[in-house]
């Protein structure tokens, strides 16, 4: 080897080197610039959704920005759902470059309590959307220790869906008023529909609940609760919840051979959608399941493939448990937050006010996420009117509005995801008989309470 000192090879000229460096620098700088927020121009992030969902929100934000004489707005769609989206958002917040507004599909309480989102209470005072225009149970999904960290602009409202034609075929009244009012009545009715052929479930009535997210609704229907936000105490192993899970387990044993695996091998009896893993069609839409609890988002999908094998279905209030006294509903809201670091917080809040009242009407007409602010004049979704007629569509819209007003507090814990995982674990243990009801719930209670205390500790 020669002893000449190191030099830049001749085929890379200094000019070329500088040009390459500049191009590299620009390329590195471009992605953040494309997502950067600017004063006077609103930037909205959406976690996911269909092309139509993105189009609606892009149009609403652009319309608002033009009307409010703001600069051109940007809507960023499809940044990933669930955890991936949260990671992106947290990354942007900690980097000091968040969007002005973000939609969330997970409760804002957890991150809000840690200081990621702006408290909205001061801005709400004297605005078009003060605190008292929101159903308390719904707004609690955005509040912690009396501070509001987001707004549940629209929500999927949980209620009982039932196949009226299956009811009538068995000589049962199919109007909403005649729907079972208690779990015991529902369980008794369910047996009428349930048919087994060996280990295959041919048709079913209703199912004991096993969805972790909605366990708080069933708990409230039985006079209990999962999380006592006022006292910062979980109540997972309360008497009402033990009674609830014991009721469900006995129901499973009596009507479904004590084995959800057998049920799952026979079809998708869990919700109204095709199972993304097994490819099995929804038993409800196939006319093999008399009823189920579902969110109102199904209104927008029920007429899509697979098209229901029947025409007439209806919604009814959730029945109450043995220790319950009143029917309640639950929701899975579309939350909106203003991340800390937004350069246009007031304009962002003004947009949320617009979206809560005017924007959500247009939104609901195209995608049936129920507007939740009490001042909204809801109009039935166009697709529902087309398929079921104006009268039925108006009735369902009014019913969902009533249900949104009686929502039980849920999604209101700063350790919501931890709680959901613990409940999922407990429910699985109970239904697979891996653990007695009380033990499984106590274990979930101890773990969740410990996590809550860890998070709340200074």
């Amino acid at each position: 080897m020669s002893n000449t000192s190191f030099a830049v090879p001749r085929h890379i000229s200094r000019r070329g080197f500088l040009a390459s460096s500049a191009a590299f620098g620009t390329a590195m700088a471009l992605p953040p610039a494309a997502f950067a927020q600017q004063e006077g121009q609103l930037l909205l992030w959406l976690p996911g959704g269909s092309e139509l969902f993105c189009k609606i929100h892009t149009g609403l934000l652009e319309g608002f920005s033009a009307g409010a004489s703001l600069g051109p707005a940007t809507t960023v769609c499809g940044l990933g759902q669930d955890t991936e989206f949260t990671q992106s958002l947290i990354g942007a917040i900690t980097a000091g470059n968040p969007p002005d507004i973000s939609m969330l599909w997970d409760s804002p309480v957890s991150l809000g309590a840690q200081g990621a989102f702006m408290p909205l209470d001061d801005m709400m005072k004297g605005s078009k959307i003060p605190l008292d225009t929101w159903p308390a149970g719904l707004l609690s999904s955005c509040q912690f220790k009396g501070v509001t960290y987001g707004l549940p602009i629209t929500a999927g409202v949980y209620s009982m869906w039932y196949n009226q034609e299956m009811f009538e075929a068995r000589g049962m009244a199919s109007d909403r008023a005649s729907f079972p009012k208690t779990w015991a009545e529902m369980r008794k009715m369910s047996k009428e529909f349930t048919v087994w052929e060996g280990d295959k479930l041919i048709s079913a009535g209703f199912m004991p609940n096993r969805v972790p997210e909605t366990m708080a609704i069933w708990s409230a229907l039985n006079g209990g609760m999962m999380f006592d936000e006022a006292n910062l105490k979980y109540q997972i192993d309360s008497e009402q919840n033990i009674e609830m899970m014991t009721f469900f387990l006995e129901w499973l044993d009596e009507e479904y051979k004590g084995d959800f695996n057998l049920v799952d091998r026979s079809g998708n009896f869990l919700d109204g959608y095709p199972n993304s893993t097994t490819g099995m069609g929804p038993a409800f839409r196939e006319g093999r399941q008399a009823g189920m609890q579902s969110g109102s988002w199904l209104l927008g999908d029920i007429f899509a493939d697979p098209v229901p094998s029947f025409e007439r279905w209806n919604l009814a209030a959730n029945p109450i448990g043995p220790s319950g006294s009143t029917s309640v509903s639950g929701t899975w809201p579309n939350w909106f937050v203003i991340p800390v670091g937004s350069k246009n917080p007031q304009a962002a809040f003004d947009y949320l006010s617009y979206l809560a009242i005017e924007g959500s009407v247009e939104w609901y007409q195209q995608i049936p996420d129920v507007p939740t602010n009490s001042q909204v004049q809801r109009k039935a979704p166009a697709g529902l009117v087309e398929k079921r007629g104006q009268e039925v569509a108006d009735d369902i819209t009014a019913f969902l509005g009533e249900q949104a007003a009686v929502v039980t507090p849920m999604w209101n814990s700063p350790v919501q995801s931890f709680y959901t995982d613990q409940i999922a674990r407990a429910v699985e243990k109970i239904y697979t008989k891996a653990s007695p009801v009380k033990d499984a719930l106590s274990e979930a209670q101890a773990a969740t309470q410990a996590e809550l205390e860890r998070v709340l500790a200074g």
């Binding site: 099995m280 995982d421 699985e428």
Partner: protein, 315 residues
């Protein structure tokens, strides 16, 4: 072979000043060329490692500043049932899948090593699964193993067998996950194949003359000569198996459904960090994993001196 007198060792002559300068320039140039790698290593490996050790001793919820808590996260880990359950699952997974992978990959490599016109085709076929994204592969297997409608169970039932609920039965799910891990064997197979093709022909032919039994040749000649490849595949296999994540989270979600049977260490780490925002605990888990894998790797390297044979001696 001509016999020559051994050359007496000579004292290293003093380097002329000009040569020393040249050596320094060469060293500088070497350092300069290696600089991008050194910078990358420092920024993307060493620094995160140090930060991880630090965060493991803090309460850090991502938003806001970390708060020093000493060894509290490690204490919390020891009390966490999910930590122990996931560690147990991961150990079982590693203990079974790594040896199985080695055996099957070696078997495939031995088959591929036989001269055939379709060698290139088979090599591509066995390597292809490695190129498929793990998520897509997992979803395909989930569809194949669907209890009622899945083609695997339909075929097994047609043969009069009583197939398991592969991914729904807690007793079967972990074994199914292990089975899945055996699918992308391309890299291991190619590494073994490279080793097999490097065995000198004269040694191979001498072995054939010594014993007509093929297994004699395999045990006494082939295996010892490819032990460096076994070592490589073993170490890489152990590192990967302790970090099994994608298949586990696609199949079992963040709770290791069914009944925590597919709950793996990395899933618990991931959910602590990005679902519960408990970065301190996640960093503590990462530290524990780092130490365990490091100890295992060092142990393997220590024992390797007695069972790994390098042609021409170890360098």
């Amino acid at each position: 072979m001509p016999i020559t007198a051994p050359i007496a060792p000579q004292a290293a002559p003093l380097l002329p000043r000009r040569n020393r300068k040249a050596q320094r320039a060469e060293a500088r140039a070497g350092l300069f060329f290696a600089l991008p790698w050194i910078i990358g290593m420092t920024i993307f490996v060493a620094l995160p490692l140090i930060v991880t050790f630090y965060i493991a001793q803090t309460k850090f919820q991502i938003v806001g500043a970390p708060k020093w808590v000493g060894l509290q996260n490690y204490e919390a880990l020891l009390r966490d049932p999910a930590f122990w359950k996931s560690a147990q699952n991961t150990l079982i997974f590693a203990a079974i899948s790594v040896p199985l992978k080695l055996i099957i990959a070696l078997g495939l490599a031995l088959l591929l090593n036989r001269a055939t016109a379709l060698l290139g085709f088979y090599r591509t076929v066995f390597y292809l699964p490695f190129l498929m994204p793990a998520v897509a592969g997992s979803v395909v297997f989930m569809l194949l193993l669907t209890p009622n409608a899945g083609p695997v169970n339909i075929a097994l039932e047609a043969m009069g067998l009583n197939p398991p609920d592969w991914l729904l039965d807690p007793k079967a799910a972990l074994w199914t996950l292990i089975l899945l891990s055996l699918w992308p064997l391309g890299v291991e197979t190619l590494v073994f194949l490279g080793g097999l093709q490097n065995i000198p022909k004269d040694v191979s032919e001498a072995a054939d003359l010594d014993s007509p039994k093929r297994w004699h040749k395999l045990v006494w000649i082939t295996l010892p000569l490819i032990t460096p490849m076994v070592l490589f595949n073993l170490v890489i296999g152990i590192i990967y198996s302790f970090q099994v994540f994608t298949q586990a989270i696609v199949i079992g979600g963040t709770t290791g459904t069914p009944a925590e049977s597919t709950l793996m260490y990395m899933v618990v780490l991931y959910r602590a960090a990005f679902r519960y925002f408990n970065m301190g605990l996640a960093a503590a888990m990462a530290t524990v994993l780092f130490v365990v894998v490091l100890i295992l790797t060092l142990l393997i390297f220590k024992t390797a001196r007695s069972w790994v044979h390098y042609e021409g001696g170890e360098t």
